[in-house]
């Protein structure tokens, strides 16, 4: 017994605390022959045995709230604990400003966890106060400029509370730091989409010129090329005045597989729209030539894809015999060949 006393006086286990003596811990029921059995530490077992007890009794108390803090510290991905904490926050009418401080610290420590960001969102909603959010997310992004959860939270805040001011400037700052930050390019698209939109030709011009400028700085930056393509999809790459000339000009100093691919896209668009501004035969020949160049030399990792594009172009715009990847096209899977495993349309 003296050993037990010594043990107890040093124990920080909830099991041994007198304030918890009334609660019978509930061990985890993994069954007689457990699988994927985790060798929990003594502390982990202690906290979660108590948590299960609280949950079972649906206890709504300060000590329960304190326990959720411990449980989160041991496994911040336990969404059941987070849910319970939110129930307690409301039932005990806890200070949500304090909770904001808490969740701020937790996210700083574990910024790639789903539950922590969702919890923050709930608290912001309850407080109906987004005033700290953009600065907070910027803080997290300063440590990892591509944190997906952070961007998700940022977009939610902006849309929910209509906080669009200054975001384009923020995006440009990030692109100044790292022009290859694809998340920032996405945010650029997000902001413009939700504010001015791209239909205004002065906006589209501005964006095209901005992007070309970034391309010239770093021609092998795929994000910039993708953005250029993305914003011109609706209008059509071949319809944008002077673009073909501007891009062709870049070929000497700024050539890259992305430039070549962009030209293929432009030629393809010219063919698709049957644009009278371009010689259709020339577009066709050049497109095929570049597909071959990409498949065989400049972008061989995507050989299968570029060969497919080539065959598709020949099939659609070619004047010769129908093209397929072999002399015998694959038979379509008929219902007699496949067992009845197709889902019925809802």
């Amino acid at each position: 017994t003296s050993n037990k006393t010594r043990y107890l006086s040093h124990s920080s286990l909830f099991l041994d605390r007198k304030e918890w003596a009334d609660l019978e811990p509930v061990p985890q029921d993994d069954g007689p022959n457990p699988v994927v059995k985790i060798a929990y530490s003594e502390k982990f077992t202690d906290v979660f045995d108590m948590f299960r007890a609280l949950l079972q009794n649906d206890e709504k108390s300060e000590r329960a709230f304190a326990l959720t803090t411990e449980a989160i510290d041991l496994n911040a991905a336990n969404y059941t604990v987070w849910h319970y904490r939110r129930v307690l926050l409301q039932a005990l009418d806890k200070d949500l400003r304090e909770e904001m401080k808490y969740i701020t610290a937790i996210i700083e420590d574990q910024p790639k966890n789903y539950q922590v960001w969702h919890h923050r969102r709930m608290v912001v909603e309850w407080l109906n106060d987004p005033s700290e959010e953009l600065q907070f997310v910027a803080e997290i992004l300063s440590q990892d400029a591509k944190n997906y959860h952070a961007w998700q939270h940022r977009q939610w805040v902006m849309q929910e509370y209509k906080l669009w001011d200054g975001e384009l400037e923020y995006v440009e700052e990030l692109l100044e730091e790292d022009v290859r930050n694809n998340s920032a390019w996405n945010q650029r698209h997000f902001v413009i989409n939700h504010t001015s939109g791209y239909s205004d030709s002065s906006i589209l011009d501005r964006e095209v010129q901005y992007t070309l400028k970034q391309i010239k700085k770093a021609p092998h930056n795929e994000s910039a090329w993708n953005y250029l393509n993305g914003i011109l999809q609706d209008g059509g790459l071949s319809s944008f005045p002077g673009l073909l000339e501007q891009v062709t000009e870049l070929q000497d100093t700024c050539s890259s597989p992305y430039l070549t691919a962009f030209l293929v896209d432009l030629y393809e668009d010219a063919l698709e729209t049957n644009s009278s501004s371009y010689d259709q035969q020339e577009m066709f020949n050049k497109a095929l030539e570049l597909c071959k160049f990409l498949a065989e030399e400049k972008d061989t990792i995507r050989r299968e894809y570029w060969n497919y594009v080539s065959r598709s172009l020949q099939n659609t715009y070619g004047s010769g015999d129908p093209v397929s990847a072999s002399s015998d096209p694959p038979p379509p899977p008929s219902s007699s060949q496949l067992p009845d495993m197709e889902p019925s349309d809802p």
Binding site: N33, V36, S41, Y148, H220, P330
Partner: protein, 429 residues
């Protein structure tokens, strides 16, 4: 003495021309990329020195022991996955399945009993006994039970309650939250579609609006983000696309821009896939990204595309296999993200899944194998023309060499499962 074998792509003279060009403008992105490329180069040069002929080997024995052990016991490093234990079951069972290692009946039964303890009284499955139901462990549990494929396994699932659970997380805009009081993203639609189709509980209204919500996740890049507005990401793109295939609505995507986006995600130097543009290679994207190519192949085929390849998915299969076999294997068993990272069961599952996709092309009539290295590297071919397990057409030459019964049992049970189901009474959901 190893036979001479075809040279590896990564040892070719011109391979160094595929290194990242930073245009003299260094940023965090380019520095990180160059770091990874250097570590991959290191792996290649060590490999060349050790092996006189290049025959990459899948470390089957080591992976098997790692998986076998993990199915029973995990160290306290796994406390962070205490709310994801059905996932551990799924990752391990699927890996064993790909390696064609049988699960002893007693173990299978134990898994069933454990997953039964993870089933919530209100329907669906949770991350562990007494936790709340969540779509991710629900997906993992249902799919794990389907891998086991026994009567006992199918009987674990309370289908009526599962339907209640799915309705309880359904949102008016067509999306699903991951759990009651939880977050929305496109993973939830895939988890819901997968389990609902597997257990045949799809009602006329369950997926109302879901396909439109998923479609709104396709962005300017051509891929899909987690929710509308977000950056295109491999994991979310797979989930959204696969969900649409299950719902029969994949043709509504802009397939051309999606195809361009996903093929662009294969890294020219490393051979593996990145999750997002200008980010780093990761072994798990061998499945999430490369797995899109069979889905797109089928979708385009259904649209009447006659120019599709008859011999290959539209990505560099050899390069992906090289990346996985040379860079993603832990010598003690298990697979991983990239050199320098620790092994885990998630990466083991998805690296092996990606390896299988790279090795096998086609369907029953048109099957093309490209096995890098020794023949023994061949994994089970789990066709993903269709993205949900019950729709997999299992085809394996090794199963045919063994008892034909095994093939029948695994696919047969799936048929039985569908046919013996009592029709769910459509209530006023």
């Amino acid at each position: 003495m190893e036979e001479a074998s075809p040279p590896l792509r990564c040892f070719s003279e011109s391979h160094s021309s595929e290194l990242f060009s930073d245009d003299g403008v260094q940023t965090v992105t380019s520095r990180e990329q160059r770091k990874v490329e250097r570590s991959i180069q290191e792996v290649y040069s060590v490999y060349q020195q050790i092996h006189t002929s290049s025959q990459p080997t899948l470390l089957r024995e080591q992976h098997y022991h790692y998986l076998k052990k993990g199915l029973r016991h995990l160290s306290d490093a796994y406390e962070c996955l205490d709310a994801s234990r059905p996932w551990l079951c799924y990752w391990i069972l699927h890996s064993l399945e790909l390696l064609e290692e049988p699960v002893p009946a007693a173990v299978a039964s134990d898994v069933c009993q454990f997953l039964a303890r993870c089933q919530s009284p209100t329907g669906g499955f949770s991350g562990g006994p007494c936790q709340h139901a969540h779509l991710a462990p629900t997906y993992a549990a249902v799919n794990a039970l389907c891998i086991l494929g026994t009567e006992e396994a199918y009987k674990v699932i309370n289908r009526e309650k599962l339907l209640d659970f799915l309705y309880s997380v359904k949102q008016p805009d067509g999306s699903f939250v991951m759990h009651v009081g939880g977050e929305v993203d496109v993973r939830s639609a895939y988890c819901a579609a997968s389990v609902a189709s597997l257990t045949n509980i799809i009602t006329p209204t369950l997926f109302d609006g879901t396909h439109n919500w998923i479609l709104s996740c396709q962005n300017w890049e051509g891929g899909l983000g987690g929710v509308p507005g977000l950056e295109a990401h491999g994991g979310y793109t797979f989930c959204g696309t696969a969900a649409l295939v299950i719902l029969g609505k994949e043709h509504m995507l802009d397939l051309k821009t999606l195809l361009r986006w996903v093929t662009s995600r294969q890294m020219r130097f490393e051979g593996g896939f990145q999750g997002r543009c200008n980010k780093l290679v990761d072994g798990c994207y061998s499945f999430w990204q490369a797995g899109l190519l069979p889905l797109l192949h089928r979708a385009l085929f259904k649209e009447g595309d006659s120019t599709l390849s008859v011999s290959s998915w539209m990505f560099e299969r050899k390069a992906l296999q090289e990346y996985i076999l040379l860079c993603c294997q832990n010598p003690g068993g298990g697979l991983l993200d990239k050199p320098g990272k620790s092994r885990d069961f998630y990466h083991t599952c998805y690296c092996l899944s990606g390896l299988s996709i790279a090795q096998h092309f086609g369907n029953k009539d048109l099957h093309n194998e490209l096995i890098l290295g020794r023949d023994e590297n061949r994994l089970l071919n789990v066709f993903i023309f269709l993205p949900s397990r019950h729709q997999l057409i299992q085809f394996t030459t090794s199963a045919q060499r063994r008892s034909p019964k095994r093939l029948n049992i695994s696919t047969g049970c799936l048929f039985q499962f569908r046919q013996n189901l009592h029709q769910v009474q459509w209530t006023s959901h």
